[in-house]
C-alpha cells in the first residue's frame, strides 16, 4: 500500500472530481443552488454562469450567436484555466479522468505500463480542428454529440442511458490499446485546454539539485513529453499539455518536483514538505 503522501494529490483530485459531480446531482435532484447544470454550462450559487469554452467555440463554429450569459460563463472558465490553473480541467475536474486513471493503474498492475502501442499525441489537435469543421458542416456542436466526457457527466446528473458504453470504450481503449490513449492522444477538449493553458501561472517546477534521475516522475506522468528538463536543468514545466495532476510530485522520492508558479525559479532550500 502506498503511503498517504504518495497519493495525496490523487485523493484531492478525486475529492474535487466527485465533489463537483455530487453538487451537480444535488442541484438537479434536490434543487441545491450551489452548482446547477453540468460541465457544459452551469450556474454557481444560482447566480454566476460558468460554461465550457470549447463547447461554445463549437457552437460559434455552427454560425450561431452565442448568448451573453453563456459567453460570460465561458469567459470566466477560460480565464481561470488560461491564467491560473493550466490544463487542470483534465486532471482535477473531468470525470473521465477517474476511468482513465483506473485504466492506467490496471495497465501498470498487469505489467503493461510501458509497453508501447504508439500513436501520435498530436492526433488530438487534428481532432480539435475536425470538431470545429464538422460543427460548421453539420450545424451542431460536433464533439458534444460524441463526447465520452459529456456522456459521463450528463449521465451521472441526468440519467445515463447507453452513455456508459462510451466511457467503457475509453477505459478499454486505454487498458488494451494505447496507454493514456484517450486523454493523452485523442480528446479535443484536452487539446483545447493544452493550447489555452499554455501560459498559466500554476506549474510543476523541477529542481535539478535534488534529482537523482530515477525517472519515476516520467514513468508516472500521463504526458511524459512535458518533462524534458528532468535531471538536466531547473525550471517549470513549459508545455500546456501538463494536466497539473501532481503525479510526478507524488512519485518523486527526493522532493525534486513541486507545485509552484511559472515565474518562480528553483527552490533555494530543499523543501521536504511539499505543499501546493
Amino acid at each position: 500500500m502506498p503511503g498517504i503522501r504518495e497519493i495525496r494529490y490523487r485523493i484531492l483530485r478525486r475529492l474535487v472530481q466527485v465533489g463537483a459531480l455530487f453538487l451537480f446531482v444535488a442541484g438537479n435532484a434536490w434543487g441545491w443552488k450551489v452548482l446547477q447544470g453540468n460541465f457544459s454550462s452551469s450556474l454557481l450559487f444560482g447566480a454566476l454562469p460558468l460554461a465550457d469554452p470549447f463547447s461554445l467555440l463549437q457552437v460559434a463554429a455552427t454560425g450561431t450567436m452565442v448568448a451573453a450569459k453563456a459567453l460570460l460563463g465561458g469567459g470566466i472558465v477560460l480565464l481561470f484555466f488560461a491564467a491560473i490553473a493550466g490544463r487542470a480541467f483534465c486532471g482535477w475536474i473531468c470525470p473521465v479522468n477517474i476511468a482513465t486513471d483506473l485504466a492506467d493503474s490496471v495497465r501498470t498492475a498487469a505489467g503493461e505500463g510501458n509497453r508501447p502501442l504508439r500513436m501520435s499525441r498530436n492526433i488530438r489537435y487534428w481532432v480539435l480542428g475536425l470538431s470545429l469543421i464538422l460543427s460548421a458542416v453539420f450545424g451542431v456542436a460536433a464533439f458534444e454529440w460524441i463526447s465520452p466526457v459529456g456522456a459521463l457527466h450528463r449521465g451521472v446528473v441526468f440519467g445515463m442511458g447507453m452513455g456508459w458504453t462510451a466511457v467503457a470504450a475509453v477505459f478499454l481503449f486505454d487498458v488494451f490499446m494505447v496507454r493514456n490513449g484517450f486523454c493523452g492522444h485523442l480528446c479535443p477538449l484536452g487539446a483545447f485546454y493544452s493550447l489555452a493553458g499554455r501560459w498559466s501561472l500554476v506549474r510543476v517546477v523541477h529542481s535539478k539539485e535534488q534529482c537523482t534521475s530515477c525517472m519515476r516522475c516520467i514513468e508516472s506522468c500521463p504526458e511524459p513529453q512535458v518533462l524534458p528538463m528532468v535531471g538536466k536543468r531547473d525550471g517549470a514545466v513549459a508545455s500546456g499539455e501538463c494536466t497539473n495532476c501532481g503525479r510526478c510530485i507524488e512519485a518523486c522520492p527526493e522532493g525534486a518536483m513541486r507545485f509552484g508558479l511559472r515565474t518562480q525559479g528553483p527552490p533555494k532550500k530543499v523543501p521536504k514538505e511539499v505543499t501546493s
Partner: protein, 253 residues
C-alpha cells in the same frame, strides 16, 4: 512530417465515422422542446446540453436525452403522456437557458426591455386528435382532454354534432385550435384511451401550410395575404416553356 500526416490520416478516419454519426443522429423530428425553443435547426446548434432547463423544471417534466433515448443526445424534451408541461408563469426552464436555445422573447408580450412573460405563447407542439380512436367521436360522453386543458375553451372546444347513428343524440367531439394550443400535453396525459387518442406533435409535423396564393374569398381580410405574398411561383414543367393555350375552346380537342 510523416508523423503529422499519419495523425491527420487517423483523425480523418475517425472524422468520417463521426460525420456519418452526426448526419444520422441529428434529426429526430418528434422531440418536443421546452417553451421558448427556437426552431429546431437553430435549437440543435445552440443547445450545449447542460440540462439547466431540466434542473429548473419544478415538476421534473423535462428529460435530458441520454444515449439510447432515440432523441438528439443531451437535449431536453417532454414525454407528454408521462409528464406534461405545467405551463409555469415564470417559465423557469426558458429563463435559465444560458445559450439562447430557449428564448424568453418568444414567450413574452411587449417589446424587449419591458417584456412580460406569457406562457400562453408557448408553442411546444400541437395537440392532434385521432378521431377513429377518440371515444367522444364514437358518441360516448368523454371530455377528459377538454377539462384538462389549461387554455380550456380556446385551445380545445367541444363541438356538438348530430349523431347520425342514433338520430337523436349529439356527438360532443373535442376540437383543437392551433392559434391557442401551447402543446403542453395535459390533454395527452388525461386521455382515457389505452394509447392516447389526443397527442402532441411538433407543429412542423402536425401542420400543413397553404400557400399565400390560396385566398378565402369570403373572408374580407384574407385578400391582404395576396398583397403580401412573397413567394414566386417556381414550378417548372415541360409545358412551362409554351405559352398558355385556351385549348378547351379549340375545336381540335
Amino acid at each position: 512530417m510523416i508523423d503529422a500526416t499519419r495523425s491527420l490520416g487517423i483523425a480523418a478516419v475517425g472524422g468520417l465515422v463521426w460525420a456519418g454519426f452526426l448526419e444520422g443522429k441529428k434529426a429526430y423530428p418528434t422531440a418536443l422542446r421546452p417553451p421558448g425553443a427556437v426552431d429546431d435547426a437553430r435549437f440543435l446548434a445552440a443547445c450545449t446540453k447542460c440540462g439547466l432547463c431540466v434542473a429548473a423544471c419544478p415538476y421534473q417534466a423535462l428529460v435530458l436525452a441520454a444515449p439510447g433515448d432515440g432523441r438528439p443526445i443531451g437535449t431536453p424534451y417532454f414525454v407528454m403522456r408521462d409528464r406534461p408541461c405545467r405551463m409555469c408563469r415564470d417559465i423557469p426552464c426558458a429563463a435559465i437557458c444560458p445559450t439562447g436555445a430557449l428564448d424568453t422573447g418568444l414567450v413574452s408580450d411587449g417589446e424587449a426591455g419591458k417584456a412580460v412573460l406569457n406562457i400562453n405563447k408557448a408553442r411546444i407542439g400541437l395537440a392532434v386528435i385521432d378521431r377513429e380512436t377518440c371515444i367522444a367521436y364514437w358518441g360516448i360522453q368523454c371530455d377528459a382532454c377538454y377539462r384538462a386543458c389549461p387554455v380550456i375553451d380556446k385551445a380545445i372546444t367541444v363541438d356538438p354534432v348530430r349523431n347520425d347513428r342514433t338520430g337523436r343524440h349529439a356527438i360532443l367531439g373535442p376540437v383543437v385550435h392551433s392559434d391557442h394550443c401551447t402543446g403542453c400535453g395535459m390533454c395527452e396525459r388525461a386521455c382515457v384511451t389505452k394509447k392516447a387518442s389526443i397527442f402532441v406533435l411538433p407543429r412542423r409535423i402536425a401542420m400543413g401550410e397553404s400557400s399565400d396564393r390560396y385566398i378565402r374569398g369570403w373572408d374580407a381580410g384574407d385578400e391582404k395575404r395576396l398583397e403580401e405574398a412573397t413567394e414566386d411561383t417556381t414550378t417548372v414543367t415541360p409545358r412551362s416553356g409554351k405559352s398558355p393555350t385556351d385549348y378547351l375552346n379549340r375545336e381540335d380537342l
